[in-house]
Point group: C2
Chain length 208, copies 2
């Protein structure tokens, strides 16, 4: 029964996986930091739709990587994405990963104001000192609140990773954030998720 | 710009999403706890492939839910899946969610024995007192080690959620675990992930 299992050293599994992905992309390619992001999203999901749906504003990955090198923070709307981000690597450049979703005062304020915790979470991120990359893996309302704050001149993110997943307002919130005039990386359409938001962050971290 | 956004109360978003998923499944249906799992996997990934790839051994979801009600633990191979599992709900039945992946002694033992941390993590889970559900969202080696331990009579899991994702040994490890004679829920093929492993756990928790 165990005969079908290939003997591959743990360290070689990722390399082999990336070779398989590159080969199945049939010669399709992207400029360098973007290509790394496309491959890693496929690696995380085994879903080649990410080769078609990922949208990058001009030099988005490069701008994100430069911000990280200057010590930018990453703010995310889910604990799962926060867990997935390589925090040791991020902290080696001086930044930190933040998720305010389970803070008690965030829940209280969301209830009082009748909005989502994710929206408040983005406001907390906007109040941080220094540069901020927002990595949204769940809530369209986070992207909508970011858009409103950008329009009002209250925040100027270094980069927005707009990867909520789902069926209600997800498509629309992504289209909105791509028009905010801020560097973005967005899997267009319904797909995305905490795993995708985290993996895009890590793909940038690993390519610095 | 904000005109395209539907006004939906946070509490109604999940309900609306499930209606959309049900409608796009075009009348396809499953027995009850399984249907909830299929829908929630699609909800988490926006990927209808889960309607085709999810495999359930007989009564797998029911058996898992009964084990949870008796206080079964859930052991997972990723911090992201651990983060995603509704631990409050699980703990209300007496069980706990465990992930041993970042334990220092696990890393040391894996290095010493030349195997993966995920394999050791499964051994730690097998040593827990009481019933255990294993929820694998990343490492094929976790499923392979579980299979070996089951064959050797060293562990008898209440349920195995076999959802590693990727390109090397993933397909094979899933086929293997489905032959172990233990109740299973497995998205056959390459797809899966921490988000899917966690969402299958939560789909059971929410249907109890």
């Amino acid at each position: 029964m165990l005969d079908s299992i290939q003997i591959v050293k743990p360290a070689d599994i990722e390399k082999r996986s990336m070779e398989i992905i590159t080969s199945e992309l049939n010669g399709r390619t992207w400029p360098d930091p973007e290509f790394g992001i496309v491959k890693r999203c496929i690696h995380t999901s085994a879903d080649f739709d990410y080769a078609d749906n990922l949208c990058f504003s001009e030099n988005a990955a490069k701008l994100g990587m430069e911000a990280i090198k200057r010590g930018a923070h990453i703010v995310t709307d889910t604990r799962m994405a926060w867990s997935g981000i390589n925090k040791k690597k991020l902290e080696s450049f001086g930044g930190q990963a933040h998720c305010f979703m389970s803070d008690e005062d965030v829940a209280a304020e969301a209830k009082e104001r009748g909005c989502t915790r994710a929206a408040i979470c983005m406001e907390r991120g906007a109040a941080l000192e220094g540069e901020v990359i927002f990595a949204v893996g769940n809530a369209p309302t986070a992207l909508i609140r970011l858009y409103e704050m950008i329009e009002a001149g209250q925040v100027k993110p270094a980069l927005i990773i707009g990867a909520p997943v789902g069926f209600v307002n997800v498509v629309e919130s992504k289209e909105l954030i791509m028009k905010a005039g801020i560097p973005f990386i967005v899997p267009r359409g319904r797909k995305g998720g905490s795993n995708i938001a985290a993996t895009i962050c890590n793909a940038m971290l690993y390519q610095i």
